[in-house]
């Protein structure tokens, strides 16, 4: 019986090299060779999912949570203005379900947008006066006016947009990408989430950046504003980097001693894990420290960018993380849920986001990063063409609308200066070129060089995909 295996130290690494390949399910590979780890660990299908040369290497997703009103931002419908106050015709609604908030209203009066729309740039991309800065980057944008979802409420809606399913339990898109592509910078998490602080609105949930059934290392890491960007990143009070180093050195010595009597990849993993953590204690604060940014950058993003946790500050951080190779940067800006008081509410939301969103695109461009960074702006669904509650001269609101809504994308291989998809003159149904959420996901994976039908993970006996059994790459969105 052989119970003390390889006492001689020099052979240990060779042993690991020899047998390490067969240890796919161990976490060792996760840390030492992460970019390809999953391909080895799970199945050849994951690696073969990367089929072609990617157009985008990373994604910044500016999630506008609550359901921004496409009819007041991107999808101009003069007919609604003409028919303002008249009833939504039954032949337009076609019996589709409404939410239980307005579904029982006796009256569904149409509501025209009070905002002015104009074409911008050479492309003539149309948007409303609420987005003056976004208008300046109109020629970079690929506006999709024919997005469709199935969810009529926030929880299922956001979950659908982020995981491809309305119900809990699936991995989010960033987790899928980390699983499929791995990291480009070992010293930063490859999936980072930032939520605008201090916003009310519909609550978000950590499941939105969860890894579902994928290994939990693929879950998004939420950067907090103020204090430690990552949970307990900073040393406890009184412990300096040097003191920590001495603790880690001792720990490493103990592990080396242990390795000499039992060559176990778990121990190697442990050593690598602590080294990586130690490096991240430098790299994360460095990445999140904006004090070195020049004034003109703050002018570009807006003064709010100096306020940690604001949307503008998160946009600036997103750029810094993109520069450092973070794969998936997910921002959430809540507050787009204008059931009532829309005029004021949507104006406030735009004031908070317009400049920084546009600045981010412009900043990426001026650094040459826009070509391989895909920026996505949008929410979980749109809003109704009719008023929820009372339509008065001074105030109105719109309910949730899954049938058609707008998002925009920029960079990363999408066709710039385009508007894709058409809704009917009522702004209710998609008339042409519908883009279902599954299609959007398939297209985004395609831009990342991934065949969405091959990026699979076997769980409970089934090969799961981000796009479930659906999704088509929309060629009209590609550059």
């Amino acid at each position: 019986m052989n119970n003390s295996s390889f006492p001689d130290h020099p052979n240990r690494r060779r042993w690991l090299q020899t047998f390490g390949a067969g240890l796919g399910s161990f976490a060792l590979a996760d840390l030492i060779n992460r970019p390809t780890a999953d391909a080895a660990a799970t199945s050849s299908l994951s690696s073969s999912a990367v089929r072609h040369i990617p157009r985008a290497r990373r994604i910044i997703w500016l999630f506008q949570s609550g359901g921004p009103s496409q009819l007041d931002l991107f999808d101009h419908k003069p007919l609604l203005k003409q028919r303002h106050g008249t009833q939504l015709p039954a032949e337009v609604r076609k019996g589709q379900r409404l939410t239980a908030m307005s579904g029982n209203q006796s009256s569904l009066p149409l509501a025209g947008s009070p905002f002015r729309f104009e074409p911008h740039g050479d492309s003539g991309n149309v948007m409303s006066e609420l987005l003056p800065r976004t208008a300046q980057i109109a020629d970079e944008l690929c506006i999709v006016r024919s997005m469709q979802t199935e969810a009529i409420n926030h929880g299922p809606g956001v979950t659908f947009m982020q995981t491809g399913s309305q119900f809990p339990g699936r991995p989010s898109m960033g987790a899928w990408l980390d699983y499929g592509l791995g990291s480009e910078n070992e010293e930063l998490p490859s999936f980072v989430v930032m939520v605008t602080k201090g916003k009310g609105g519909q609550p978000l949930l950590s499941r939105l950046w969860g890894s579902g059934f994928l290994p939990s290392r693929h879950q998004g890491v939420r950067f907090r504003s103020g204090g430690d960007p990552v949970l307990y990143l900073g040393n406890p009070g009184g412990i300096s980097a040097g003191s920590k180093r001495s603790m880690l050195n001792a720990l490493q010595q103990l592990h080396e001693i242990k390795l000499q009597t039992s060559a176990d990849p778990l121990i190697e993993t442990r050593i690598a894990q602590h080294e990586l953590a130690f490096r991240m204690q430098q790299s994360i604060p460095e990445a999140t420290d904006v004090s070195s940014e020049p004034d003109h950058i703050f002018e570009l993003y807006g003064e709010q960018a100096r306020n940690p946790g604001s949307y503008a500050a998160n946009c600036l951080l997103a750029r810094r993380l993109a520069e450092r190779g973070v794969r998936f940067i997910q921002l959430y800006h809540p507050g787009w849920d204008q059931h009532s008081g829309l005029r004021k509410g949507v104006t406030r939301q735009c004031t908070e986001t317009d400049q920084a969103s546009a600045a981010l695109v412009a900043d990426l461009k001026q650094r040459g990063l826009l070509d391989d960074t895909l920026v996505v702006w949008g929410g979980e669904f749109g809003r109704t063409n009719y008023c929820q509650g009372k339509l008065t001269a001074t105030s109105f609101g719109r309910d949730h609308h899954p049938r058609s809504y707008s998002v925009w994308m920029a960079g990363g291989g999408v066709r710039p200066g385009t508007t894709y998809g058409v809704t009917d003159p009522w702004g209710y149904n998609v008339a042409e070129q519908g883009v279902h959420i599954h299609d959007l996901h398939a297209t985004i994976l395609h831009l990342m060089g991934i065949d969405h039908e091959r990026l699979t993970f076997r769980y409970q006996g089934r090969r799961f995909r981000l796009t479930d059994v659906h999704g088509n790459v929309i060629n009209g969105l590609l550059a």
């Binding site: 019986m1 052989n2 119970n3 003390s4 295996s5 390889f6 047998f19 067969g22 240890l23 976490a27 840390l31 939410t99 239980a100 908030m101 307005s102 006796s106 009529i152 926030h154 929880g155 809990p168 339990g169 519909q202 609550p203 978000l204 949930l205 950590s206 499941r207 994928l214 939990s216 290392r217 949970l231 040393n235 406890p236 009070g237 009184g238 412990i239 001495s246 603790m247 880690l248 001792a250 103990l254 001693i257 009597t261 039992s262 060559a263 176990d264 442990r270 894990q273 602590h274 990586l276 953590a277 130690f278 204690q281 009372k390 309910d399 091959r454 769980y459 409970q460 006996g461 089934r462």
Partner: protein, 1040 residues
């Protein structure tokens, strides 16, 4: 097999021979890779089925809808009649197809994005060559008692388990590992059975105990510890998707922890596993079910629940039923039934109908799709959490109510003489239009505001409702003990599917409908008093629809009894035939700060274009003659002014009722006493906490197959039944959850006991014999030791599903006692430890890492059960909550407050699952974030310091404390080399802290704990740092 022939004739047969030549070499390789002693024999269940299932069954499997070419490869007969010729690969269409390079012929087709590796092609070919022997899927055939295999190394086995493990190793010319050291063993078994490390004393006792029973005694000691139940429960909570909050988006707190404590008690009392399952599935249906039995059924209510405004309740009710069904299948059967929610299973022989028949066991409860946003009502059905004293008190109060009811009836019966006297002598002619106790009269003569319109009424002008504009009042906050009557003239313009006539409530689904209401549903009048709809309410409905476009006088009367029989509806003063819709009101109905509202309700359908007039409200149950007076304007007046000797019998009878209700002091006083008694009873019940449980409704619930799984795509009606492929339920078993539970635990069930022993094996070894505990189907991995699994399963059943016995049996085995050190042979040939030739080592689960730190430092608060604890980490969760101070910071992690939308962040970093859905396995990762948590998290920093503090109190210097420190954290003494590393670290840290009192003070102030002693600060800080570093040491956090 016309279809199969068509399939064969569709392609060309050219390249078979050529392909076969290429494959010969691989065939050799494949058969050589098989275990020695199996003579290159390919086994269907182990080798073939997984490949056929994974690559072929999507199109050639159980799913009828998607089956191609009418070919099934999941059935032997079908396959062999068409594409497989046993023994003759070159005549088998299957071989031709899988080897073809022609994209039109090749299988799997390129478009499927599935492929067979050359080894798999070779294996399938070799299998056909060897005769294509078939076998049923192992998991669907009941285990048969296997013979104990013979072994060469006869002295190694300690019990039956070892024969199976050793014979398998020997077949592969491999050997087991030696026994682990005593220190390793006591550490291993302590964590496995209690989730806590051994104390130094326990280690010493075991290490020095030379008795042959020493190990057995240790196991018994740990199994009898209360911590055993906590450890087992922490695993069960993942499976039960336990959470202290409702989940989804709003994610409010809910009261379910008594169920968690039930689980802990069940484990500690060694409840037999089949009883444990039976009670959780059907405790409420057991004969003479106790409150404990009913509490067990909270299991099936632990799924996430929704409250988000605007949601469709039915969508979520269906989601809950599906969750229960899927949890049942995953947790107890190891089946992936959710695949059949939308279509027949792609891999396993389960149809969509099987799925919905199974759901029919779980939807027979009176539940709502949404919980209540505006009230704190517990979603029904519920159990009132009463202790014995409460129960006695409530019994007494119920008796008082009954006595008062009886006395009221007696008082009325004895009032005849007084009535006669009143009729003959005392009857004064009052203003009979002014009925007593009226608190509201709206005549609608004034022009209404808002969108409602003025219209010709029944009397003068009336109101026509817009449906979106409420008419408010200033009255109507009735309790359920208050008799009341609401009367009005009503004219409905059309046959209303749903319309709110009047109500007092905080909203429909948003408020659980709490309050009282009159609705028109499908044309019929529904009058209800509600605490939480539908399970805590009384409700009646008229048998016939209210005629449309006519004025009718509608009076709803209620007697204060909390019984459906206490509500009555009179139309045009005539009692009408009604049906009882619900009769189970046991809590308050009052919607605070709201009044009676007419014609509209937020997010509900108003009484659009309906008309009303002369609305009156009385704080008394009107008598029929009064209602007649309201309707015809004269009945009561006439009767009151008619000389007593000229009254008709009917008039006299009705005046008697009127007399009792309005005039007779004895009756009125007795009614007041009854109301008082009822108020006392409801006050006693209203404050009692409720918990969600399962309770069969007595109303019929129809279950449908749902096409594509969509809640609104109802297909055929189905009745409760178990999947066709599995054993039948016994004919006399009830078609309810109890019948389902008894079917599940029947000894001939092929899955239940296997799933159970696999679960407990996983508790001990970190991974099951079936490595995919969530899938025992054809896509799952076959057991590493099929005969051992079967032997354990049968032995478990034969020994009354005795959990502690099973765990001890596992722990006593030589297999369990092996060292975890990996030999070169194992590393090369069995890196995943499928042969169990060593003990599998892995990082301790989240709960144990934290509990370990608390335990060794002495901080652990050793209290069992109770409300969730909120340690430091909850305040830095994504959904921060206020943390506890004091004991709540130091409870075992099984009690940590679980919030679904922002679970305890330290536990999440350490691979806990979110508990949104049933999970029977945790992933294990080693992210750098784990290092931050262990080295910087306040819980661990504080525990390190308190540990150091304890040691310094015992030892004079920090140097002297090092040996105990190392031993506390690893359960073994440090070697000299290790000791010198620790000494070096301590010296560096002493130097570091010695230089600066300020940094020392800072480091020593992490956490709430204050020291009882006053050690030298620099020594304390330095030793704390050493302790903290050791918390991340392999032997502290890896189970070895």
């Amino acid at each position: 097999m016309a279809g199969a022939n068509k399939y064969i004739s569709s392609g060309r047969r050219t390249s078979v021979k050529a392909g076969l030549c290429q494959i010969i070499v691989l065939m050799l390789a494949v058969t050589q890779a098989l275990p020695a002693g199996t003579a290159g024999q390919i086994r269907f269940n182990r080798d073939v089925r997984p490949v056929l299932s994974d690559r072929c069954y999507v199109c050639h499997g159980p799913d009828v809808e998607n089956r191609q070419a009418d070919l099934r490869l999941d059935l032997e007969q079908d396959a062999k009649q068409s594409v497989i010729v046993a023994g003759k690969p070159d005549e088998s269409e299957l071989v031709r197809r899988i080897l073809s390079n022609d994209p039109d012929v090749r299988m799997p087709p390129p478009g499927s994005k599935l492929e067979l590796s050359p080894e798999e092609q070779a294996m399938l070919t070799a299998w056909i060559e060897q005769g294509a022997t078939w076998d049923q899927h192992w998991a669907f055939v009941a285990p048969r008692q296997p013979m104990l295999p013979s072994v060469l190394t006869a002295r190694w086995p300690r019990n039956e388990i070892d024969y199976f493990v050793l014979s398998n190793l020997e077949e592969r010319s491999s050997t087991p590992s030696s026994e682990a050291s005593r220190e390793t063993l006591i550490r291993r078994i302590s964590f496995d059975l209690t989730g806590l490390p051994p104390s130094l004393e326990q280690i010493d006792n075991f290490v020095t105990n030379e008795s042959p029973d020493a190990w057995s005694e240790q196991i018994d000691r740990l199994l009898s510890s209360g911590h055993f139940g906590e450890r087992m429960a922490s695993v069960w909570l993942d499976l039960a998707r336990y959470s202290d909050t409702f989940g989804y988006q709003v994610d409010r707190d809910r009261y379910v922890w008594p169920w968690r404590d039930w689980v802990i008690r069940a484990f500690n009392s060694n409840m037999p596993h089949h009883e444990f399952l039976r009670k959780q599935i059907a405790g409420d249906l057991l004969p003479d079910a106790t409150d404990e039995d009913i509490l067990a059924t909270t299991f099936n209510r632990l799924h996430p629940q929704k409250v988000e405004g605007g949601s469709t309740p039915e969508e979520f009710r269906i989601e809950y039923v599906s969750d229960r069904t899927q949890t049942f299948a995953t947790a107890f059967l190891g089946l992936t039934m959710e695949c059949c929610r939308c279509h027949d299973h792609k891999y396993d022989p389960f149809s969509q109908k099987d799925y919905y028949q199974l759901t029919a066991f779980f939807d027979k409860i009176d539940e709502a799709g949404l919980y209540s946003y505006r009230t704190q009502s517990t979603p029904t059905p519920t159990l009132l959490m009463l202790d014995e004293a409460d129960k006695r008190r409530i019994r007494r109060l119920r008796d008082s109510v009954k006595a008062a009811e009886k006395k009221l009836a007696e008082t009325a019966a004895a009032a005849d003489a007084e009535f006669r006297r009143w009729l003959a002598v005392d009857r004064s002619v009052e203003d009979s239009t002014m009925l007593p106790n009226r608190v509201l009269h709206m005549d609608f003569e004034a022009v209404p505001g808002g969108g409602n319109r003025h219209t010709d009424g029944k009397v003068g002008m009336g109101i026509r409702f817009s449906g979106d504009d409420a008419v408010g009042t200033q009255i109507g906050q009735f309790s359920r003990n208050q008799p009341f009557s609401i009367a009005l003239w009503l004219n409905t313009p059309d046959h209303k599917e749903r319309a709110v006539v009047w109500h007092h409530s905080l909203g429909w689904t948003d408020g659980g409908s709490r309050g009282y209401q009159l609705l028109i549903k499908d044309g019929r009048l529904h009058a209800s008093l509600i605490h939480f709809w539908p399970g805590n309410a009384i409700s009646i409905a008229t048998a016939d629809p209210l005629p449309v476009q006519e004025w009718h006088h509608v009076t709803v009367r209620y007697d204060g009894s909390s019984r459906a029989a206490g509500i009555s509806i009179l139309i045009d003063a005539q009692p009408v035939s009604t049906e009882i819709i619900r009769d189970n009101l046991y809590k308050e109905i009052t919607a605070d700060k709201r009044h009676l509202v007419i014609g509209e309700r937020s997010r509900d359908r108003g009484f659009t274009n309906g008309m009303a007039d002369e609305l009156m409200v009385f704080e008394r149950q009107l008598t029929p003659i009064e209602v007649a007076q309201l309707t015809d304007g004269h009945s009561l007046a006439t009767a009151l002014t008619t000389p007593h000797d000229q009254l008709s019998a009917r008039q006299t009878e009705r005046l008697f009722e009127y007399f009792l209700s309005t005039t007779h002091n004895g009756s009125r006083q007795q009614l007041a006493a009854l109301t008082e008694a009822r108020s006392e009873l409801s006050a006693a019940v209203d404050g009692v906490q409720e918990i969600m449980v399962m309770k069969e409704t007595d109303r019929p619930v129809t279950t449908h197959l749902l096409r594509r799984g969509a809640y609104d795509a109802r297909g055929d009606v189905v009745t409760a039944d178990t999947p066709a492929i599995l054993p039948k339920r016994s004919a006399d078993a009830p078609a309810n959850r109890l019948g389902l539970a008894d079917w599940l635990i029947s000894p001939n069930h092929p899955l239940t006991a296997r799933v159970a022993v696999n679960h407990y094996w996983q508790v001990m070894f970190g991974q099951g014999l079936v490595r995919t505990p969530e899938d025992f189907g054809s896509q799952g991995r076959p057991p590493t030791h099929p005969r051992l699994l079967d032997w354990l399963a049968l032995d478990f059943i034969q020994h009354d599903w005795d959990v502690k016995r099973l765990l001890k049996q596992i722990a006593m085995s030589a297999t369990y006692r092996q060292t975890s050190t990996m030999s070169e042979d194992h590393a090369r040939r069995d890196p995943n430890n499928d042969w169990l030739g060593r003990f599998p080592s892995y990082r301790l689960p989240a709960e144990m890492l934290r509990d370990n730190a608390l335990a060794v430092s002495g901080l652990l608060v050793d209290r069992m059960g109770g409300p969730p604890a909120k340690p430091y980490e909850v305040e830095v969760s994504f959904k921060p909550a206020d943390r506890d101070s004091g004991p709540g910071l130091y409870r075992r992690s099984v009690y940590t407050y679980w919030k679904r939308t922002g679970p305890a962040p330290v536990m999440m970093v350490l691979d806990a699952v979110k508990r949104d859905v049933c999970r029977v396995n945790r992933e294990r990762t080693a992210s750098p974030l784990e290092a931050f948590v262990l080295m910087n998290g306040p819980q661990f920093v504080e525990a390190s310091r308190v540990l150091a503090e304890q040691l310094l109190a015992e030892h004079h210097t920090p140097q002297q404390a090092l040996p105990d420190l190392f031993r506390l954290l690893t359960s073994r003494p440090a070697t000299d080399r290790e000791h010198s590393v620790l000494t070096g670290l301590l010296a560096e840290q002493l130097d570091y802290f010695g230089q600066d009192a300020e940094r020392t003070k800072k480091y020593l102030s992490v956490g709430d704990h204050t020291a009882d002693t006053e050690p030298d600060p620099a020594s304390l800080a330095a030793l704390s740092a050493v302790a903290n570093a050791l918390l991340s040491y392999d032997e502290c956090l890896i189970k070895r």
